[in-house]
Amino acid sequence: MRKSFLAQNPSVLIFLGILGMFTLAVTVASEGLGLGLISTSFVKTLGKTLVLALIAVAMDLVWGYAGILSLGHFAFFGLGGYMIGMWLMYERTRQIVVDSMANAPIPPTDQEIVDAIGTQIFGVVGSSEFPAIWTFADSLIIQLVLIVAIPGVLALVFGWLAFRSRVTGVYLSILTQAMTLALSLYLFQNDSGLRGNNGLSGLQNIPHLDHVPQSVLSVWFLWASALALALGYLFSAWIVSGKFGSVIRGIRDNEARVRFLGYSVEGYKLLLFTTTAMMSGIAGALYYPQAGIVNPAEIAPIASIYLAVWVAIGGRGRLYGAVIGAIFVSLVSTWFTGGQAPDVNLGFYTISWVDWWTILLGLSFVAVTLFAPKGMGGLFDLWAGRRAPERHGADLGPDQGALREKEANE
């Protein structure tokens, strides 16, 4: 008899429980809806951290499970942010323009309103025309679709080209990195149509919700982020629990063997790459309204490398590992780079963490890779192993070289 999905994967239930309690606790402690124990900006930091955990889960699927070290998922994340940012900026500017023109003696025509919005948005890059990519910026529905469609299509085309030519390993990582760099350089240009290095700003102001204070909005976004993480986690756990999970782990460990079983490896990689790109797009669309601004620097290659570092430190190949890594490293990083960490005065030299944090992170990454390849998630194995020591010591088979059974994990 088959057990239900959740009964087979108790860690998913535990994860959802912890996430729920965390969200509740932050809500109760928030300024907007609770006791005011934590500041609105910290609620935003926590909300952002949750969506970073979501993209880390996506990265874990593609890297930890399928072995594709993509150094481009932050590009998809950034694109998701741009897509929602376009509507947020357009609609908000439209409101302002309409309000300011309301008292004009002659009511403005639709064209005049659009022109005025264009001037407002593109003034910083010396233009007032709407570029073609803003065609649908007035439609929330279409921009919401584009949050998944744009990263999805980009990943599909890129992945199709790369996987079809059987580019793997380091070469694939370099290709994804190049894609990210190209996209970011393109966006840096003023005539990219997305305001060059200014990016899209004022995204924390949600149109039609002016009456809702940021302290409350931040909690709403926290909820949305927690929900997205919960759904993304469930979805990912479902993907990896079945035969699809078996196949992609097989691809990670021995791609050629999977082919000889009759599975078209390219199709699997493409499906996974595209799906995780879409997940990243959703994560980005939730992140940037909490951050307030999205600009090309966010898409810089280094961001995607950080993502790989989070997943490695948290533990590849297990979803909660990715979550732990993303949350732990990004919060610690916020603490160090935010100037909260006390500088260490060595007398002859003062270690300023703002500068030294990156080096510390790099060293931790190297240490984890060398000494604890299972990452922080590996700690759970120790705990689970101690709680239920299940050591079979039987000889396996008649062969002299038979191994003694190791602890049967999972």
């Binding site: 088959r2 035969k243 699809f244 008649p398």
Partner: protein
């Protein structure tokens, strides 16, 4: 008996070295065939060509009733068409359980979307158990296959091959690292499988070949040196010179 696979005039060279030289070979629908030959004779390369891993420089490889060319198909397509392969070095997915390995090999829709929604049913588990019983791993279903002994991995790979329900099994040195009793068991499995499908076995162990009791093809320097019953080929002077007499 009609032919299932027909290889004719195939050659392949690696950096000028002719690993396969104008090789021709055919096998019927339900036939057991052994291939022997000295190290480097091109036995593994021959399997690489049939399974699409290596593209030959010239020659044809025709498959099935409709005589489709395998040369235009990808490895995965060839496998789906019904060619299963066991590698010389046992390659199972060590990080996954014996059951997961077998479920993955089980003949089912290979399309990614179909696989995404596929969940094993009663019949699938029964089939896996049946195969696991055949290969003596029924008690190890929940164990990671990396924990198995070398011989057990060989068997698991044979089991995966059977689970695929191929029409042609290519088995590269199945008995390596097995005890005499295990070898005998393996022989039985292969002879049994050959009743309903074509099986090609590459092996160095003459005792093993003798027990298979089938036609033997001797490869040498990339082409067929002799073909016939074991007694026939072992009596061949050339075969004695290049292979047996060493």
């Amino acid at each position: 008996m009609s032919t299932l696979l027909e290889v004719s005039g195939v050659s392949v060279s690696f950096d000028g070295f002719k690993a396969i030289n104008n090789l021709s070979f055919a096998i019927g629908q339900a036939e057991l065939r052994a291939i022997i030959g000295p190290n480097g004779a091109g036995k593994t390369t021959f399997m690489d060509i049939i399974t699409g891993k290596t593209r030959p420089d010239s020659g044809t490889v025709l498959w099935g009733e409709k005589s489709r060319s395998l040369l235009k198909m990808t490895e995965a397509q060839i496998a789906r068409a019904g060619v299963g392969r066991k590698f010389q070095k046992p390659t199972v997915f060590e990080d996954q359980t014996v059951q997961e390995n077998l479920l993955m090999a089980l003949e089912n829709d290979r399309n990614p979307f179909a696989v995404l929604f596929w969940r094993p049913g009663q019949t699938d588990f029964e089939r896996v158990e049946e195969i696991a019983t055949e290969i003596g791993l029924v008690d190890a279903l929940k164990r990671k296959s990396g924990e198995l002994s070398h011989g057990q991995k060989q068997w698991l790979e044979i089991g995966m091959l059977l689970a695929q329900e191929p029409r042609l099994l290519l088995v590269d040195e199945p008995a390596a690292g097995m005890t005499p009793a295990e070898r005998e068991h393996t022989t039985r499995l292969l002879v049994e499988a050959a009743k309903t499908r074509a099986v090609v076995v590459v092996e160095h162990d003459m005792e093993f070949i003798r027990r298979l009791d089938c036609r033997v093809t001797v490869l040498h320097e990339g082409s067929v040196l002799a073909e016939g019953s074991l007694d026939h080929v072992t009596a061949n002077k050339e075969v004695i010179d290049v292979y047996l007499g060493r």
